[in-house]
Symmetry: C4
């Protein structure tokens, strides 16, 4: 009867598994934050049925949720920890060396995609959702033969940073552009296409995956999470605009205020 989320028996938590890396009283510690964020994301419909997930990087250490857990029930003891430096020295890109592993799980197939955000963009957090708004946007774009989600002149666009190593946020009249990559049979195989998209769109903080969902990152947890929320808001709006026959891109003349002082 015991589901896989029941956690670790006490006798398995030996020190050579580095369990101290996921044990903290601080609710802001990554091992505590990932479960609480994922529980919140579950209520938003982003990580339904063990889909999706989140990873946090704290300097060299990367904290990862395991594969196949119910995201609203995850516990700190379920978390994998990996060293970016150690990983960089690994002979194989596909082999991962974990500092700490939960005994009853398998690593998530999302791991190399999260690592891409951390290594190529110095991100502090990366979120992967299966939000059906994201999936519907990719389906609408597929019908149009498009590999880019573009929207402009919506206030919420200001929720996104201008781009990697740039300061400030997008403006209201700026066009938010999110690349779409095609889904692959195995999630790990998405990595090279995600990295290609990052190279082609150096300032994007998100990549849509056709018929699958979206990866969103940010310099820290705050930015990754609020950019992910803003993006999901825009995806929902875009689907509803489509249903109402309203275009995503418009040419609006800026409203100029009278400067009184």
């Amino acid at each position: 009867m015991t589901p896989p989320t029941t956690g670790l028996p006490a006798e398995n938590t030996t020190d050579n598994n580095n369990d101290h890396l996921v044990q903290s009283d601080d609710p802001e510690h990554p091992a505590n934050l990932i479960p609480s964020l994922c529980a919140k994301f579950w209520t938003l419909g982003w990580v339904t049925g063990t889909g999706g997930g989140a990873s946090i990087r704290d300097d060299d250490l990367v904290y990862l949720a395991p594969s196949g857990v119910q995201k609203e029930l995850m516990k700190p003891s379920d978390i994998y920890v990996l060293s970016l430096a150690a990983q960089a020295q690994s002979l194989s890109r596909r082999q991962r060396v974990y500092l700490r592993s939960p005994p009853v799980y398998k690593p998530s197939q999302c791991t190399p995609l999260f690592l891409a955000a951390f290594t190529k963009r110095n991100a502090g957090c990366c979120i992967h959702t299966h939000s059906h708004w994201a999936v519907l946007v990719t389906l609408i774009l597929e019908q149009q033969g498009s590999k880019e989600f573009r929207i402009n002149n919506i206030e919420q666009i200001k929720g996104f940073g201008k781009g990697f190593q740039k300061s400030g946020n997008l403006g209201y009249h700026d066009t938010l552009v999110i690349p779409v990559i095609e889904n692959t049979a195995h999630e790990e195989d998405l990595t090279e296409f995600l990295e290609e998209a990052m190279d082609k769109y150096p300032d994007t903080y998100a990549v849509l995956v056709r018929r699958h969902g979206v990866y969103v990152w940010g310099d820290n947890v705050h930015k990754a999470k609020t950019q992910c929320e803003s993006l999901d808001y825009l995806f929902q709006l875009a689907v509803e605009m489509k249903q109402l026959g309203l275009p995503w891109i418009t040419d609006i003349e800026p409203t100029i205020p009278t400067r009184k002082e």
Copy 2:
């Protein structure tokens, strides 16, 4: 003023009713898990107005919610317990022998349908929802004269096992097929049609019931619940795809990654 969910007066909980079978401090005990799962399902709109339910099998023992309770208010003391072995020896398929019965309720009409999943598929948990996404899918299929829900090339399909006694999950390009049976005036009468559908679709983990809802099972609570979530996600997506004129089945050429190592 007392609604039927107020529970048992202390004087009725005699030992010969085997009340110990539903008394445990372990939140993972089926008598505790069914109420907490049903409360969660209520917030998802799956068990509105006493509709739907869930049952858990622990080896020979089957735990069942009673008929007509408000699912978000259910208590461990409301749970029926039945022995599969004793049931198998019963002279009548329609008569049930309960090891433990709550004094103020009637058994659920879903009982024989849950038992079908336990006896024919060795399931550890079966969930029945009235999700309106499930109902809308059966209505859309009815208009098309179809008795099968089919969808492919959506990542969430990977949330389903390949089938009974098979290991591994469906792939992204696989087509998920869920049979639809016609509703009957009395829920118990669905049993033979559910069993027929199980025979005809030996690998399915779910059966849609036209204008009614869906039955979903799994080897354990974790699998039944996550498959039910994934399926509801796909039903919602399918209805929204229909509203946007997008087809559920597509012929997509697999994206082949460049194997770098």
Copy 3:
């Protein structure tokens, strides 16, 4: 800064206001149950912006929420109590004599409508929602020039009783019929039309109010609440069926099971 829901200062709760009528440690006491139900209804979108409400009858005593409170913040001390017998002896139908009144509120304009359910149908609870699904159904029916919501062959219909002083519930193939009355400028003025609808549809447990919402009652809290949930489910389904071009009434031949024993 003090909003009207802050409640009663201690010096106002004198005995001659019968405050003991709303003071109980029992969560099932009407003065406790109305606030907890209304908080739940607020999360369902039924009582947005102080709209809607609920009333419970315990024998001769009727418990009523006041006018204009935020329904998710209501407290037992906010509740009015009225005697049905005393009210029947009142010279004026429009004047109400309260056994207990909260000092800072006005009685709800819904009061005479709740009383109609209690006196004409012996209901134990009546719920009034502004659910936008209910309102949309009345708008769709208005376009069709109809004063009746009719739906059949949906499992959730079985969530309704057969009618006043009848035992058992509607069947799957039965048609659920809910009358629609036109809205009036003042909510109290709905009373005579609600009573007319009750006379014309003696078995209904609900009356829709055009462009306004719905009144739903039941023999007790359990039945009123679950019938209200089932009805809201059906209203939502009906709106979505309309968007998909699916008819609310169909002629389906019953599926006859093979009786094996």
Copy 4:
């Protein structure tokens, strides 16, 4: 790793920053109420991704949320406090003098818009949402070349006051009119257009901002919040009516009850 919502280190809370202004055990104190209201608004989708916000005025003091915080995680120590009288004496409309500032934040760009509601309408509370229902309504109106949202003959309209310094609420047959102003690149620049709309529509309690959201105020927190809820309800209804081809304005003959006494 520390997100900006982690709050103030104890050594920063010196008296000359007037931290006592945001420290109270009373849950109705503005510094406590703004975080609890914003957490509630987050669940309603009104303040997604740090968008939107709320401000409360208590006599001369104005309490404001900072820029860029996750609204469901806000704390009393995050709140700015400003004196209306001191602000009125400031030489520059664009420069704000805060009595109390949280050390790690920037003031919200919404500040001058909230101040407009407080100074021009004597409001006690002003709420700004990015609700996608509000945005969709402005998009639908844009297609019609309209700068006014108008709806009548819906019960929920009675949730609005008749207007500034008028007593009583709108009636069922009254037309609710909400002006729409065009969005500007910088939120502060909306102020003059908001004030113009207030002058042109002296009785409105809300102004829609095209492709952005809505500002709603009221004499106190209760009225601002319930008017904001009622308006969001009407925006959602309006979008759904549009999808169903139902008009927002109708000419309905009042239903006249038979006065029996």
